[in-house]
């Protein structure tokens, strides 16, 4: 039984309604923090500490790792969307003097299910030597019938992508997992979530809104490709890999190669973007390690841009049929959605829990299906499930508001129970100028402007299997260590703020050592959980190591250790700050070269909504509301997003500047998803025709609107820092907010992503408004 004490925490939205909550917390936990205004570093816009190495090109990304004797690997990939491998003869390739090892990844008779599926790997002296070796392989494929279009794949008689044995089982969106779903043709599912009686709710509704919404396949398009350098040695394996989860990859490597964890080290310094696609070791990673083991030399393997587009994961496309029933006052009587989504040869193409949890509705049902097609496997991407889900639900709610003659914000005030989002709607409406919003399509002239909004919903995820260490060295320097990785969020800077806050130092005084499994295990950087997971144990570790230093200082200052506080570079007596030691002088009193504390993540003080083996969901979800102002040129069909107001919450905000960056990034990925990006598969060849960055369009600087970011300080008294994530919520609301703004501009609803000029013109033509 853990010994506890009672503490009172500030609770509620700072500046709106701050109350308090009383918690029983372990005695080892530090006292509650006040709101950010009363803290020195927490919440401040501290510039990222690794900025200098990034702007000078010094940061070492995985693709920059060069080891002595390193070989270069490339993968042979299937050129066909579906084929049987007939022959793989590598004799000639292996005889080339520059070639060091060849590793088959498929054998004759195997069925290859998408263009780009790996067939063999080669390691050679240079990248061009490896490419030439691939060309020298004698390989024959027997073409088989294929299907790459989701609608065609659902039709009777479509070529079967999988058989019962090969079809991956599992779930449409992962939350909750639904094993044992039926398989019929290419369709796996439905996974059903149901409460109440949706049919009765629809039958009894005053108003029913129906619609079909489509979202496209969206690739992660990280600028740094997937990359690994594997260095297998007699005394252990070291892997440099562009990853969102060093500790997870270490575990995968240990399992895959039968190594003790203690002999596996995973390192990432610079990490050039992941967005969900770099969470695992992957087939390419295993291949590189196998090659390194075979030749006894380090092996480098990185995707080129084409490989990155076809075989590095993607956000599945969906079609969602939605029915929403309501009473005249807006009360929802039923919400029913049937969805089909495609993650290529795998599953995971659902619509998340957005519809299930956002609005109060007693009669609810989702029926989610995965559809197999002969295309590269999808994987989680920034707000998986909820991002396509929000596109449908938030437009349907707006359509319902119009049918009822209720302002969309007023309707949401009635059906959304979250007090946090209510405040976010109020702030956003004021900033965007909602009161000046006109009726849909009311503007005359060819360029029509409009305003729209949409909401966000994501879990407050926490990784519970997380640890970190804080050290004070005898020269007064301080280190914080964890295997947690910085994938671009700047978490290392947030860590320095936490340690600096506790030790009374400046963030730049703290040396952050992360991205290496030699340090205590950090969690994954996915699911918007990094800050929530690492900062509480870090604060506790810093508090404990400070107590060790306070013992030495107290002796010198004739005070009890618990009378010593750290402030502005000093250790001082709380009741008499004229009695003090400089931090450095106190450290010099240490009897050993360093003192150290290691701490791990405790459960949230108020408990969790759901507990999983190494992770959990906090009680309160993450919200966020976004407003968009658009201009639609009805002659060209071009939509321009002119302004976005993004109002978000993430528990206690840790760094205003980095949060703003995250929100801007989420909004821009959302704009790109809404207007530009689409994986295009050729139905006749089964190939991706825009597997590059010229024809696969990403948002650029000219597509960037003015983005105003507001972050609420929403305290909950849940952990030593009370901090949660923001990366995914910032992405979920953007596309539907734009779609609702487009409707307000032109009076025609666009139900398919991306909203390209041709779709705008076609929609206008259909309704005679062009």
């Amino acid at each position: 039984m853990t010994e506890t004490r009672t503490e009172t925490f500030p609770s509620g939205i700072v500046g709106v309604g701050l109350g308090s909550v009383t918690r029983e917390i372990p005695v080892s936990e530090p006292p509650p923090w006040p709101p950010n205004a009363d803290l020195t570093w927490i919440g401040r816009p501290v510039p990222r500490l690794n900025g200098r190495s990034k702007v000078t090109g010094a940061t070492r990304y995985t693709v920059d790792v060069r080891l002595p004797g390193m070989l270069y690997a490339r993968l042979l990939r299937s050129p066909l969307p579906c084929a049987e491998l007939r022959r793989l003869d590598t004799t000639e390739a292996a005889a080339r003097p520059e070639v060091r090892a060849i590793l088959p990844l498929a054998k004759p008779g195997d069925r290859l299910r998408y263009a780009g599926q790996p067939v063999a790997a080669v390691a050679a002296l240079s990248l061009s030597d490896a490419a030439e070796a691939l060309a020298a392989m004698d390989v024959e494929f027997r073409p088989l019938p294929f299907v790459v279009d989701m609608d065609e794949a659902r039709a009777p008689g479509a070529p079967a992508v999988h058989d019962a044995a090969s079809a991956p089982a599992g779930h449409p969106s992962g939350f909750p997992a639904a094993p044992g779903l039926p398989l019929e043709g290419n369709v796996r599912g439905p996974a059903v979530v149901r409460r109440g009686d949706p049919a009765a709710g629809l039958a009894g509704a005053d108003v029913v809104v129906e619609g079909e919404y489509r979202t496209q396949v969206h690739t992660h398009a990280c600028l740094e490709p997937h990359a690994i350098v594997a260095d297998w040695r007699a005394d252990g394996l070291t892997v440099y890999i562009s990853t969102q989860f060093t500790a997870g990859v270490r575990q995968e490597l240990a399992t895959a190669f039968g190594l003790p964890l203690s002999r596996v080290r995973v390192v990432v310094d610079g990490m050039g973007g992941g967005f969900g696609a770099k969470s695992q070791l992957g087939l390419y990673g295993r291949a590189a390690v196998q090659l390194s083991r075979a030749v006894g030399a380090p092996v480098y393997l990185a995707f080129d841009r084409t490989e990155e587009q076809v075989d590095a994961g993607n956000r599945p496309g969906t079609v969602q049929r939605l029915r929403l029933g309501a009473m005249r006052d807006g009360t929802l009587s039923a919400l029913a959605i049937e969805s089909f989504g495609t993650a290529g040869v795998t599953v995971g193409a659902g619509i998340g829990f957005f519809a299930e949890r956002l609005y109060s509705c007693a009669n609810f049902e989702t029926r989610q299906h995965d559809v197999f097609v002969n295309a590269g496997p999808g994987c989680a991407m920034r707000g998986p499930g909820n991002t396509p889900g929000a596109f449908a639900v938030e437009q349907a709610v707006d359509a319902l508001a119009e049918r009822l003659g209720i302002d969309p914000l007023v309707l949401r005030d009635r059906i959304d129970p979250s007090p946090v989002r209510r405040e976010e709607r109020r702030i956003g409406a004021e900033r965007i100028g909602w009161s000046g919003r006109h009726r849909p399509g009311a503007e005359t002239g060819p360029v029509k402007r409009g305003i729209g909004m949409a909401q966000s919903l994501w879990m407050s995820n926490v990784q519970t299997n997380v640890a970190c260490e804080v050290r004070i060295l005898r020269d007064g320097s301080v280190e914080a260590l964890s295997s947690v990785q910085d994938i671009g969020t700047g978490v290392g800077t947030v860590m320095a703020q936490v340690v600096a806050e506790v030790l009374g130092l400046r963030p730049q005084d703290i040396t952050i050592r992360i991205g290496d499994t030699e340090f205590p295990p950090g969690g994954p950087s996915y699911g918007s959980r990094t800050t929530a997971s690492i900062t509480p144990p870090l604060r506790t570790a810093a508090t404990r190591v400070l107590a060790q230093l306070a013992r030495e200082a107290g002796r010198m200052l004739n005070a009890a250790p618990d009378e010593i506080e750290a402030s502005a570079g000093r250790l001082q007596v709380r009741t008499d700050p004229t009695r003090f030691l400089a931090f450095r002088d106190a450290a010099a009193l240490l009897r050993t070269d360093r003192v150290s504390a290691v701490e791990s993540r405790l459960d949230d003080y108020g408990g969790f909504r759901r507990r999983m083996p190494d992770a959990a969901m906090a009680l309160e979800d993450l919200g966020g509301v976004q407003f968009a102002a658009v201009a639609v040129d009805t002659e060209t069909g071009v939509i321009r997003v002119e302004r976005v107001v993004a109002v978000h919450d993430c528990g206690r905000p840790m760094n205003q500047l980095l949060l703003e960056s995250q929100v801007q990034g989420g909004v821009l990925m959302g704009i790109s998803y809404a207007l530009l990006e689409r994986r295009i598969m050729d139905r006749r060849t089964g190939l991706m025709v825009n597997a590059d960055l010229e024809h696969y369009k990403l948002a650029g600087i000219h597509d960037t609107p003015e983005i105003e970011t507001v972050i609420l300080e929403n305290l909950q008294g849940n952990s030593a820092t009370d901090a949660y994530g923001i990366a995914e919520p910032a992405n979920i609301a953007t596309a539907p907010a734009i779609a609702n703004a487009v409707y307000n501009a032109i009076g025609v609803r666009l139900t398919s992503l991306p909203m390209t000029p041709d779709t705008v013109l076609a929609a206008l033509a259909r309704t005679g408004r062009s």
Partner: protein, 159 residues
């Protein structure tokens, strides 16, 4: 297969003449990264669509992945490693840090090189000129708003 013929060239890189022997097919980006170990120059698309590989050729920004190294023979190349004066960062670099105009940082060296080149030719750009100068650069993290703010701040500081 015969070993491809190598060509000798001399390129001034960050103020230092470098004598290189390379295959004619080698791009400038490849030789900077693998021949000279200047890995600050990034290759992301390898065909001029994203501008991550931007360096200066005689002071003008170019995509180093779109240029054969032999075409740089006798010319001056400046990479991200050569922009700071010793410990003193270029004003654009300082402003990128202060305004958090970077996230994962992979596109950042190219963004910084184009931004610094802009200030060389137009010391007082407005936001539109900054956007025009960076129109070819992709940033998947979405740093564009902070990049514009940083370049405008750098222009102010420089003058």
């Amino acid at each position: 297969m015969a070993t491809p013929t190598k060509t000798a060239i001399t390129v001034t890189v960050n103020g230092r003449p470098r004598h290189l022997e390379l295959e004619a097919r080698t791009t400038l980006a490849e030789v900077l990264r693998d021949g000279l170990g200047l890995t600050g120059t990034k290759i992301a698309c390898d065909r001029g669509a994203c501008a991550a590989c931007t360096v200066w050729l005689n002071g003008r920004p170019v995509c180093s992945c779109m240029m054969l190294a032999i075409d740089a023979d006798g010319q001056a190349v400046t990479t991200i490693e050569g922009l700071a004066q010793g410990e003193a960062l270029h004003p654009v670099q300082e402003a990128f840090i202060e305004h958090d105009a970077l996230q994962c940082g992979f596109c950042t060296p190219g963004m910084v090189m184009s931004s610094a080149a802009l200030l060389e030719r137009d010391p007082h750009p407005d936001a539109g000129a900054v956007r025009d100068a960076l129109a070819g650069h992709y940033c998947r993290c979405g740093t564009y708003p902070h990049v514009v703010a940083a370049v405008l701040a750098a222009a102010e500081r420089k003058s």
